[in-house]
């Protein structure tokens, strides 16, 4: 029997052994493996659930922020309107004052 014969026998034994090992490994720990599968699935489901909750919370925060900003914008627009009204009143006052002052400084005929 040469060395290569021995190696080939070892290879055949190894291949056969792994078939037996495949069967034994599953038979011995079938319950645990199934439980592991279930746990992996439940972890995936709970992770997706957490992600959805987080995204929903972020969406609500963003909506609240948008409504706050909208309120700010409307109050600022109101303020601008009020200021422009004041500016036009002041302009009118200024024109009136100019007219009065030009009448007062008009040289006597």
């Amino acid at each position: 029997m040469t060395t290569s014969d021995i190696v080939v026998s070892i290879a055949q034994l190894a291949a056969g052994g792994t078939i037996v090992q495949a069967l034994v490994a599953v038979m011995r720990r079938r319950g645990e493996l199934r439980q592991l599968d279930r746990q992996t699935e439940s972890v995936a489901v709970s992770t997706a659930d957490q992600l959805v909750t987080m995204l929903r919370r972020e969406l609500m925060d963003a909506k609240a922020e948008v409504s706050g900003l909208r309120q700010d914008r409307s109050s600022l627009a109101e303020q601008v309107e009020r200021l422009s009204r004041q500016v036009s009143e002041i302009n009118a006052d200024l024109a009136e004052a100019r007219a009065v002052s030009s009448r007062l400084h008009k040289p006597a005929p």
Binding site: S4, A11, A15, A25
Partner: protein, 158 residues
């Protein structure tokens, strides 16, 4: 998880299993002509053994791929052991048959054997330390079932 996500998570395992299906299928169909090293080292009864090896290898690849993409560890674990056996057999026969000419193929398949065995051992270790499941609670309507009024006998149509 979709198959694209699984492929990007397990690229090497997927390719190892797919290669095993391809090589194993070739060995199963055309026998020892699939590998020169195998036909030299298994002189005499090479063909039968090559067919058997191909079948085992292809089955291992299919089980591993199914186990990865399903995902089911109960299927992946035997697939990994079959892959380890197939790659190990190929490694030893190619090194014996072709000597130094089979060094590249032999080393690669030997490394894949080790990888498959390591992954199978990791899965077994995870299964050994798995948390015990909480006891299943009885359904809410269990008392109602217990307290159900038995139906009158002989009243039904049978």
């Amino acid at each position: 998880m979709g198959w694209r996500a699984q492929l990007s998570t397990n690229p090497f395992a997927s390719m190892v299993a797919a290669t095993a299906i391809l090589l194993g299928g070739l060995g199963m169909v055309i026998g020892d002509r699939a590998s020169r090293g195998m036909s030299i080292s298994l002189a005499g009864h090479a063909n039968v053994i090559a067919h058997l090896w191909g079948a085992m290898f292809a089955v291992g690849g299919v089980l591993t791929l199914f186990g990865i993409y399903r995902p089911r560890l109960t299927v992946e674990l035997p697939g990994l052991y079959l892959l380890a056996g197939g790659y190990g057999f190929y490694c030893l026969t190619v090194l014996t048959g072709l000597r130094t000419h089979g060094l590249a193929a032999g080393l690669i398949s030997g490394a894949l054997t080790l990888g498959s065995l390591l992954k199978a051992r990791a899965i077994t270790a995870r299964a050994r330390h798995v948390r015990p499941e909480p006891p299943v609670e009885p359904p809410v309507d269990a008392p109602a079932v217990e307290g159900r009024v038995p139906e009158p006998r002989g009243g039904g149509a049978g």
